[in-house]
Symmetry: C2
Subunit: 439 residues, 2 copies
């Protein structure tokens, strides 16, 4: 064995957790998965590695620079940078074997070759759902997305949140009516930054793109329409804009919000917000962001929207879709560093068996199996040590119950079940102990 040692470092920009935090992370992961499945989304798990020409069919510019791309033998490979491009590839490849509308979730790691800096990850989990249609998708599906978001963040239970909703057609139509149809992309990307950079800088940036002061004023006034959803919708209908796309957008927005109420989302959790643009070019209708009311600094914790054509780079079919994504690694990391969540449970283990000595190992292992088979997570401490280190192990591990077994317990066919928090202990048969733990 070598005697020169390598320093065991973890790659900057990746997240690696100690067990208590990993347990907490997994609980969030499992909650999201459970809600996704409860709405009928099917699981998908595409490879992390793809052929570069396939994965990067659409990419270019900044995205492409961030790709982990390399050759092995004569194969040009890339690591996926999101779950949307692999979905497009998957749907194109397996179209004939899928049933549409195709609802899938995928929760996995994606990779971006970022320079490491605070809050930027090179390897991180995305938790996506998308609904893909083989033909036009009803607006009810646009409302299903906030319904899923509402259920996820209600179950995650770390504070009040608002799903902010808008429709690209409303914005695009309004900008077109101002004669700015050729500048829509630039305007969207600019107003998307409103919250971050403020109105003044937005005005300056708009002017750079050739939007004159009068038009910029109108844009700012328009996206600042505030009020309840009913008030905003009334105001939109009153806007003097004859653009057909605009009218269609307002109509869609109204329908989606009403369906969202029917999905059980309380009014306080869903708000029309005309400043939501989502910078990504491919959104064409409804767009969403989700904000934590008490932690605005977290930014959007779940975003997405509707797009017209998922698979344009792979097939001639035009498949519309709607999707949202939770950036779980970033979210978890922020929640932990702000102490918004903490590990309520350091161990997964429910009961630790501690044999006093080796005399009754058969009884110890049998009893452990009884409690395990009743659905509990059971560990057995097997080192031949004194009681002090044994109890120290239980304490440091944060295990809530200990089952002590010595001669007298084993001879009575019982275990001494001790609640590590209260110190309370009780002599019980393994079956009785399982019953007690169920309460």
């Amino acid at each position: 064995m070598s005697t020169t040692k390598t320093e065991p470092r973890v790659l900057q920009g990746t997240m690696e957790l100690l067990p208590p935090d990993q347990i907490l992370f997994n609980k969030m992961y499992d909650t999201i998965r459970e809600v996704y499945e409860s709405f009928g989304f099917l699981p998908l798990d595409t490879p992390v590695l793809e052929y570069s020409n396939v994965l990067l069919a659409k990419a270019g510019g900044e995205t492409e620079k961030q790709i982990y791309r390399f050759t092995k033998g004569d194969t040009d490979l890339s690591m996926r940078f999101d779950l949307t491009v692999p979905l497009a590839r998957y749907v194109s490849l397996h179209k004939n074997d899928l049933v549409f509308p195709f609802k899938r979730y995928q929760m996995g790691k994606v990779y971006r070759g970022e320079r490491p800096q605070k809050g930027r990850f090179r390897e991180f989990y995305q938790c996506d759902i998308d609904i893909i249609g083989s033909e036009a998708l009803d607006l009810m599906y646009d409302a299903e997305m906030p319904a899923v978001i509402y259920n996820v963040f209600t179950k995650l239970n770390f504070g009040d949140f608002v799903i902010r909703i808008n429709n690209r057609k409303v914005l695009n139509g309004f900008f077109s009516s101002l004669g700015l149809a050729d500048k829509i992309g630039d305007i969207l990307r600019t107003i998307d930054k409103l919250e971050k950079i403020g109105a003044e800088k937005v005005m300056a940036e708009l002017s750079e793109f050739g939007v004159d002061g009068a038009a910029a004023d109108k844009i700012l006034a328009f996206i600042n329409i505030k009020g309840t959803n009913a008030e905003v919708l009334a105001a939109l209908k009153a806007v003097d804009c004859a653009d057909e796309t605009f009218k269609e957008g307002v109509d869609e927005l109204e329908k989606v919000v009403n369906y969202a109420y029917m999905y059980g989302i309380p009014e306080k959790n869903i708000a029309i917000d005309l400043t939501i643009a989502r910078g990504l070019d491919y959104y064409t209708g409804t767009v969403y962001e989700t904000k934590m009311v008490d932690y605005p600094a977290l930014g959007s914790v779940c975003s997405g929207g509707r797009y017209d054509n998922l698979t344009g780079y792979y097939t001639d079919d035009s498949l519309p879709g709607i999707g949202i994504s939770i950036g779980l690694t970033r979210l978890f990391s922020q929640l932990r560093s702000e102490n918004i969540i903490s590990d309520d449970r350091k161990s997964l283990v429910d009961v630790l068996f501690i044999p006093m000595d080796k005399n009754h190992i058969d009884f110890v292992l049998e009893s452990a199996a009884v409690i395990r088979n009743a659905g509990f997570k059971v560990d057995v401490y097997c080192l031949d040590k004194g009681m002090k280190p044994k109890m120290k192990f239980a304490n440091r591990s944060g295990i809530p119950y200990v089952a002590l077994v010595g001669d007298s317990e084993a001879e009575a066919g019982k275990i001494m079940l001790k609640n590590m928090e209260s110190g309370e202990q009780e002599l019980l048969t393994p079956a009785e102990a399982a019953e007690k733990l169920k309460k």
Copy 2:
């Protein structure tokens, strides 16, 4: 949007599944995770990407050739090729924050730059458990591994299996007593192939390594000792071998097998097999393989063993451990292609709501929520179509129950719950339907 299309291919040597198979795969994954957790193993999720010098501290030769390694900016990166090296790195890095014995499971993808061929994967899941000690680990932990294997494969429930167990010390001690102490590595790697290449080729190979015919005969005779565990142990004790390591190994083997019985493993599921050597150099004591009785061609479906020093390349601490690994991608792929398992369930969805029209969407969505909140997976079909395509969607998706809602149902506050297999249908309130589904 571009008009030249890219062919949507999936990288050779990776596994990508359609939803029914993905559901089946996830069921296996979840079962393994559940058993691992039930024995008190804690979750771990190390990054796929590591610094090359850290990940490859130990590697060399064939392993290193298979690594996906590349530079991005000035960072030399590698994708993990197993979960053991990352564990060694993790334990070395976080030693002061862990509680020992440290029991962890990790289930994730690993990467090997293989030339694609049948049964070889470039990206595949490994499902590992390891127990790491900060000092000597009791032999009871050696028996916990087969206990976990027994529970995993019993719950996976795809046929009879035997956990074959041996101890390196038995082999090493015996070979040393033949004066072959300097050839142990070569001998182990050779006899490990016995089942694959047969006795004749093993003899030939041993001779190449300078093992003379008499010694080779003794080795073959020794590893061919067969019988019940008690018979093999008796035969081992009767072997005329004064080597201390040999005696220690026989003693360990006997203890571990006895503990394994105490863990509830039936005798038919655990068999001492002296041909089991495990090629990997780092095993130093107990070693395991697991074979499906009716499908010997699958090879070992779960293997592992005890090692003396996990972290030697990173720290001066000597940390012993015991671990096993299930290569889930390979296992799943074999089970599917041999039709040993099949998708008993094409969809995760329990109930599909089908509104006859848009008149009662509020009632439909409320009813769907009632059944969803009762713990079921519920989808709502939202496309405005005739009954035929709606029912076709339900059928093709393989959803077991459909809830039909038209005017008369909605006005009665009820849904028509239809069993898609039997055709039976019943008019029920949403709460009644949830009750019925629970049965």
